[in-house]
Amino acid sequence: MMNDPAKIWLIIALLGVGTYLIRFSFLGLIGDRPIPPFITRLLRFTPVAILPAMVAPLVIWPSATGGQTEPVRLIAALVTVVVGLTTRKVILSLVVGAVVFELGLHLL
């Protein structure tokens, strides 16, 4: 995939157009018609529903270690979650998680 430029460009184009259409949907096309309440509810949960499913396997079976579970990655991930939950600060939890990971990787 990453060595096929045509496919990468196709993904960029489709993702760009698709994202624009999502943003333009109601404001530009659909207007004032109400969305069914259950659909709004589902939409509200999309990031929280998708992102953890993407992350969990990467944390538990990282490809860099050939799929072997590794304590440094588990601890760094856990620290990132805890800082995010307690401080509600995205960048702070990103920085703390990255520092814990790099320290663990280089010192242990």
Binding site: I22, L27, G31, R41, P47, A56, L58, G84, I91, F101
Partner: protein, 235 residues
């Protein structure tokens, strides 16, 4: 521009500046990770300027590196952006009467930060006309979008100088986790994330991307249904 519209625009502009704190590190990180994953500089820049939605860009990178097919990469990344349909709908009462070209521009710049700060301002200023409201929105987007692009470019340019033993592969999961933590404000959101983790792991053996979509759909329903159950109990 007449002066109240100009004033709204510059007020928006000033409200956009503080977001540099979030936009610049994330944009740089995207540039670094995109080139690390094998994208060309032009591709990384085209993606970042066309999509302007960090989480979905990282999602697309991850799926591409994982050799998922085009359809799966695009559907997973778009799924991450579906919440913006809700933003679009929420803006209709405020901007629905603005000229089409303005609504088209606002749509390009409609992401988490611009949406959140504008909606809050509209509640504060019900006296504003749709033109003033869209000027404010575009004002917020004006500093953010170039900063996002410039940061991605800087990240892409310096990224190749980062040593391989820094474990850059793990910056992607750390990025997602840092985005998720602060989103978990209510019990249904926590349950959604837990279901997402559990089903993400269970389905991780399925062909690239399909497990993710399945887990995502199940988790969305867990969130929506648990929220409805809680509301019924509270009523």
């Amino acid at each position: 521009m007449t002066s109240p519209i100009r004033a709204a625009y510059f007020e928006g502009f000033r409200s956009g500046i503080p977001f540099f704190l979030v936009i610049i590190p994330f944009g740089m990180l995207f540039g670094v990770v995109a080139l690390d994953a094998g994208m060309a500089l032009g591709q990384a820049m085209a993606m970042t300027m066309l999509v302007i939605a960090g989480a979905s860009q990282f999602a697309a990178l991850h799926m591409m590196a994982d050799n998922a097919g085009v359809a799966l990469v695009v559907s997973a990344a778009l799924a991450v952006n579906l919440r913006m349909a809700m933003y679009s709908a929420a803006l209709v009462p405020h901007l629905g009467a603005a000229p089409l070209w303005q609504r088209a521009l606002v749509s390009y710049g409609n992401f988490d930060q611009t949406y959140a700060v504008s909606i809050a301002k509209y509640e504060e200023r019900p006296d504003w006309t749709p033109r003033e409201k869209s000027a404010f929105f575009l004002g917020v987007a004006t500093p953010i979008i170039p900063a996002w692009g410039a940061a991605s470019l800087v990240g892409a340019l310096i990224g190749s100088g980062i040593p391989a033993d820094w474990g850059l592969d793990f910056m992607l999961p750390i990025t997602f986790i840092s985005l998720i933590g602060p989103m978990l404000r209510t019990l249904p959101q926590v349950l959604t994330a837990l279901a997402s983790v559990i089903f993400g792991l269970i389905f991780s053996g399925l062909p690239s991307g399909t497990g993710l979509l399945l887990a995502g759909i199940i988790a969305m329903f867990v969130g929506a249904l648990s929220e409805m159950a809680m509301e019924r109990r509270a009523a």
